[in-house]
Amino acid sequence: MAYSDKVLDHYSNPRNVGALDKNSADVGTGLVGAPECGDVMKLQIKVNKNTNVIEDAKFKTFGCGSAIASSSLATEWVKGKTVDEALSIKNTEIVKELSLPPVKIHCSVLAEDAIRAAIHDWKKKQGTAEQKVAAGAEASR
């Protein structure tokens, strides 16, 4: 199986490798997959709470070249999008962009899951933040 040029490019020059502070209120962290399956992706987003725009994204992946490329591409695509726009990213688009063969489609699915998990985590944090504001408002009444 020969890899597509784009997969090789992402593998050799992965975009946005690294970590954001998972304790920060602006950061959403998605951790998907399992070591037993041979695929684990951690995708993090930093969101501007006023505009809901994803300002930064970082990833780390344990997995094959296609998994690394899928998650690297995911961080490229979410940057500059609002959280809702990012939620509409489909794995089929990743498959098309990277020319993934059928046996590697599950890598793109995991990347889509990672985006959703990161956004879900961020939203949960905003939920908590909102509750805190409400509680504060309650207390001050």
């Binding site: 780390k60 344990f62 046996v103």
Partner: protein, 422 residues
């Protein structure tokens, strides 16, 4: 190469220290054909094209003579007589013939077969098929070092057992089973002992009498011979073993294997065996030295690197290592100028991780992180050094990319994490 078909180019280039890239270090998958073997075969693809079964003219006699010379050479390498060697299309066919041949011939005596969990699919799938026909098969487990427990074998043998089939050397982890002891136990219990010696013949000493082996499978392309040809040793004395054929038509090879003989291939196999008879001892020393050098360089530079299978009972050219926190296929991609293979699910067509590593008790995560190195006749010390460097730098780079490495460094116990995919 004249052709109306477009073929991929074989791209080679020069690397540092006189190393030619890409480096082939996957000698358990197949081996380059030794030029001495090619030279020996060529006349049988050109002038000496006769069919060995043509008994009435010199085209046939010349071919027949070549076959008999090859038979002698193979027999010599394994301590057998020429009459006990029959030719097949390879070890898969040899394994099929051995197991199905015994099963059918001795079915009145019993229907129980014993094998091991780490056998090649040619043996395991054949046993599975026999189970469908009503045979009972015991798959002996292996210990952490990859060896079977002889007490397990003794306990598994019963009055219905007609065959024990255990490989001499494993293709993934290179582990050598205690063949002589297994042979002795089988001989005492009057049970036929077959060994798939595909990875062992020509690499470590094999003697069918010293090791009490009754049937033995051989493959040419694992020992610097051509693909598409192999042999099966079938004992004629003490005890005499009979096999029901799996191919009908013509009765060639003493009725055991019909079909026109692949003379060029057989000549090649014979020559490969002759070379091995001469060079095996010296070569195995050299390969063990190279293998140990590779192991020491890698394990000296990287931490959390685990050897799979016994180091003591192992093929001299085999190394199988798991690199924690790094997945096998991504590692192979990073060392794309080195040809090796991996036990990772991502590299298999069925997305299943290596069942051999699983049988050792290796966790799936480490199975996904394994690389198999098969060092062979044409590998050099400069190549070993190059490969060691490339592997280490790639592992280091991929660990920087790995969330598992990050978590481990933070002190997280990965075994206690609840993963989303579980």
């Amino acid at each position: 190469m004249t052709s109306d078909v477009k073929r991929k180019e074989l791209e080679t280039r020069q690397g540092p220290n006189g190393v030619r890239l890409p480096i082939y270090m996957d000698n358990h998958a197949t081996t380059p054909v030794d030029t001495r073997v090619v030279d020996e075969m060529l006349p049988y693809l050109t002038d000496r094209f006769g069919n060995a079964a043509s008994r009435n003219h010199q085209f046939g006699w010349v071919a027949e003579e070549a076959v008999e010379i090859a038979r002698e050479r193979i027999a010599k390498l394994i301590g057998a007589t020429a009459k006990e060697i029959i030719f097949t299309s390879g070890a898969t066919e040899s394994d099929n013939l051995a197991i199905k041949g015994v099963a059918e011939m001795y079915r009145e005596k019993g229907k129980h077969i014993i094998t091991a969990a780490t056998e090649h699919k040619a043996v395991l799938d054949t046993c599975k098929r026999l189970e469908k026909y009503g045979y009972r098969v015991t798959y002996l487990p292996v210990q952490k070092d990859g060896l079977i427990n002889l007490d397990d074998l003794k306990r598994a043998l019963d009055e219905q057992t007609i065959l024990v089939t255990i490989m001499a050397a494993n293709n993934e982890i290179g582990v050598l089973q205690p063949i002589a002891e297994i042979g002795k136990i089988c001989r005492e219990r009057g049970v036929i002992f077959h060994s798939d010696a595909t990875q062992a013949v020509g690499k470590v000493p094999v003697d069918v009498n010293q090791q009490s082996i009754d049937i033995l499978s051989i493959s040419a392309h694992k020992m610097y011979g051509p693909k598409g040809v192999g042999a099966l040793y079938v004992r004629r004395k003490n005890p005499r073993v009979q096999l029901a054929p799996i191919l009908d038509g013509g009765g060639h090879e003493r009725g055991m294997r019909s079909g026109t003989l692949n003379i060029p291939g057989i000549v090649g196999l014979g020559k490969a065996c002759a070379i091995a008879s001469e060079e095996m001892l010296k070569e195995s020393c050299r390969l063990a030295g190279l293998r140990n050098r590779l192991k020491d360089k890698i394990m000296g530079r990287l931490d959390e690197v685990y050897l799979n299978g016994s180091m003591e009972h192992r093929l001299p050219g085999n190394l199988n290592i798991s690199f924690a926190y790094v997945e096998g296929e991504s590692l192979l991609m990073g060392i794309n100028d080195v040809a090796v293979s991996s036990g990772s699910a991502c590299t298999s067509a069925t997305l299943e991780p290596s069942y051999v590593l699983k049988a050792l008790g290796t966790g799936d995560d480490l199975a996904h992180s394994s690389i198999r190195f098969g060092i062979g006749r044409f590998n050099t010390e400069a190549e070993i050094d190059y490969v060691a460097d490339r592997v280490c730098e790639t592992v280091e780079r991929l660990r920087e990319l790995s969330p598992l490495y990050e978590m481990a460094k933070e002190g997280v116990d990965l075994k206690s994490v609840k993963w989303a995919a579980e």
